[in-house]
């Protein structure tokens, strides 16, 4: 290595192009976000307009995904449903991540006793079965998406807390953290500038994959009747409503189901790709 003063190596290469399947997953996520943000621009029909004359029509030009038992356009219902299913999944995972990161960071920096106490609390939440909690919340607050959000939020944050606590404990042993402490940096500043930036990538991976899992959990709870109520076009509820017509109208079940599957896959693929590449950002 040269001792030359101007040995600043501007080695900021562009990262290599991700594999095709990852690009496809990104496109899918972009389309889904559009669905969630501006459904009224994209949906050909109203999601709740009844049209009894055209009930249970198979997929065709007028109704790409067919119609349901009340003649509503399933394609439009799926588009509007994105906001409920995916939107709620994103909200749940982001709030859980926000709280979990703060909790885990405090626990990771705390002394042994406080850390132990905080982690036992996490264990309690971890051990709680989602379904039982969702039933309890639904019984207390009534069925609906807000009950689902509450139940899942309570279940979701401990995963982040554990992840971040472990990472913080690992990173706080690094020489640059000790060097910062030797300069007099402590507490929140130490956390924010010298530890959290190295935890963020792990959290990003987790958030991305968890959105898919949260989506499955939301649709599952709605499918069981604990979540969205008619006529909300939530995907899980669409699948629930389609059960009685499965023999005659396969499209009613298949298209919302495919949406759940493809969305989860898209987030899962993106998460895996982030996980594979996360070492790139970990400067030398």
């Amino acid at each position: 290595m040269s001792g030359s003063a101007l040995a600043i190596r501007r080695a900021r290469r562009l990262p290599p192009m991700p594999p095709a399947i990852v690009v496809i997953a990104w496109l899918a996520i972009a389309v889904l976000l559009l669905f969630a943000l501006v459904p009224d621009w994209l949906a050909p029909h109203s999601p709740i307009a009844l049209d009894i004359l055209h009930r249970l029509q198979p997929p065709g030009l007028a109704h790409p995904f067919g119609t349901d038992e009340a003649g509503r356009d399933i394609f439009s219902r799926v588009i509007y449903g994105t906001r409920y299913s995916l939107g709620l999944a994103i909200v749940i995972v982001f709030s859980a991540a926000l709280f979990g990161v703060a909790y885990g960071a405090i626990s990771g920096m705390a002394g042994r006793r406080l850390d132990n106490l905080m982690m036992r609390v996490v264990d309690v939440f971890f051990g709680f079965p989602v379904l039982v909690l969702a039933l309890a919340v639904a019984a207390a607050l009534g069925r609906g998406l807000s009950s689902v959000a509450l139940a899942l939020g309570v279940i979701w944050w401990p995963g982040f807390a554990r992840l971040v606590r472990g990472e913080v404990q690992r990173i706080r042993e690094r020489p640059h953290v000790e060097a910062a402490r030797a300069l007099g940096v402590r507490g929140v500043a130490l956390m924010r500038r010298h530890i959290i930036p190295f935890v963020v990538q792990e959290v990003n991976v987790r958030v991305t994959t968890d959105i898919g899992y949260a989506l499955v959990a939301i649709t599952a709870l709605s499918f069981l009747g604990l979540g969205a109520q008619s006529p909300t076009p939530e995907w899980g509820l669409l699948i629930r409503d389609s059960r009685s017509y499965f023999g005659d109208a396969w499209w009613y079940l298949v298209f919302p189901g495919l949406m759940v599957m493809l969305t989860t896959a898209a987030f899962s693929i993106t998460g895996d790709w982030l996980a594979r590449d996360r070492h790139l950002g970990r400067g030398g």
């Binding site: 290595m1 040269s2 001792g3 030359s4 003063a5 101007l6 040995a7 600043i8 190596r9 501007r10 080695a11 690094r174 020489p175 640059h176 000790e178 060097a179 910062a180 402490r181 030797a182 300069l183 007099g184 940096v185 402590r186 500043a189 500038r193 010298h194 930036p197 190295f198 970990r282 400067g283 030398g284």
Partner: protein
């Protein structure tokens, strides 16, 4: 300004505590270049960490560390904060891992000023560039924008020194600052330390294992072995007339004596005692050419000399000038 007395850093272990530092004492005067020398495991770095209050959580620190008469040993982390960086600067062995890889060099220097409320953000950023220029980093304003991995090893160590000096501490602890550098850069960094000490009246506590490093710079030298003081004295007396067999062995293994070319440098036989076992009596006795029966039994006390102190039962004669 710095007075260390009977410093002990112990780690609890089954079957008796392990003392990484065992009764070390020394003084550093303002503006003095003080060198602590010893092999790996001699406790020299742990001594530095103890002064900064940065020993591992499991370590117990006993004894006294006074800075300007104020006791530092046993101070809680919160109370150490205004001292770290502000009154004692620390230069690390490996600047690449000691710098935050995700922040530009200049921002990290400015942080020291900002943390101790010596400057607002803009002023701190401006002074960071001036500090880089002060440690002879050419093109300082560009280097300030660069990330640690983008600059050379020598520049990184200079930046590290700038960081340690940002708040104008009276004492700089440099823990093997040249180990990660190649030979020419090493000489430059040492010259920089000497210059700063001269011009800023800075006291420097240099921790090293390399006798070659200390010969020209040191005012006083502390030789450590297995957590204890072997010999302490003025550089002149320690280097010209080492009394402890270990000091002489260290000197002979460094290429500072004018040995004819191609003559092999003698190595010190054996290895320094590890964490598992410490020899009884004088810890150096299994490797010492002058060891006698009493060395294996009695710990040699530290006895004052005209220009220092010595812990040896059978020291070399005063006149002995090796090589």
């Amino acid at each position: 300004m710095l007075a260390v007395r009977d410093l002990r850093v112990t780690f609890p272990r089954t079957g008796g505590d392990f003392a990484a530092v065992d009764g070390v004492g020394f003084d550093v005067a303002p503006g003095e270049f003080f060198v602590v020398i010893g092999e790996s495991g001699s406790g020299k770095s742990m001594t530095g960490s103890a002064i900064m209050g940065l020993t591992p959580p499991s370590a117990r620190v006993a004894g006294s560390i006074r800075l300007h008469g104020r006791e530092l040993a046993g101070l809680p982390d919160v109370a150490m904060r205004p001292i770290r960086g502000r009154e004692i600067g620390l230069v690390h062995q490996d600047p690449l891992s000691a710098m935050n890889p995700a922040r530009p060099v200049g921002a990290q220097i400015a942080e020291a000023l900002h943390i101790h409320r010596l400057a607002d953000r803009q002023e701190a950023a401006r002074r960071a560039v001036a500090l880089l220029a002060r440690v002879h980093v050419p093109d300082a304003s560009r280097v300030a924008q660069a990330y640690p991995h983008e600059i050379s090893g020598g520049m990184r160590q200079r930046a590290m020194i700038a960081m340690a000096l940002a708040c104008q501490p009276g004492l700089l602890i440099a823990d093997e600052p040249t180990t990660a550098l190649d030979v020419t850069i090493k000489a430059q960094v040492l010259a920089l330390l000497a210059e700063l000490r001269q011009e800023m009246g800075l006291a420097v506590l240099l921790i090293t294992h390399d006798m070659g490093v200390v010969a020209e710079l040191a005012d006083r030298i502390l030789v450590m072995y297995a957590g204890r003081v072997a010999e302490i004295g003025s550089a002149e007396s320690v280097l010209r007339a080492p009394r402890h067999p270990y000091t002489r062995a260290l000197m002979q293994s460094a290429a500072i004596s004018e040995l004819p070319f191609k003559q092999l440098l003698p190595a010190i036989a054996g290895t320094p005692p590890g964490h598992a076992t410490r020899p009884s009596g004088c810890a150096f006795h299994p490797r010492c050419p002058r060891a006698e029966a009493d060395c294996a039994v009695v710990v040699p006390p530290l006895q004052p000399l005209p220009a220092g102190a010595l812990a040896c039962h059978h020291p070399l004669a005063r006149a002995a000038v090796p090589a």
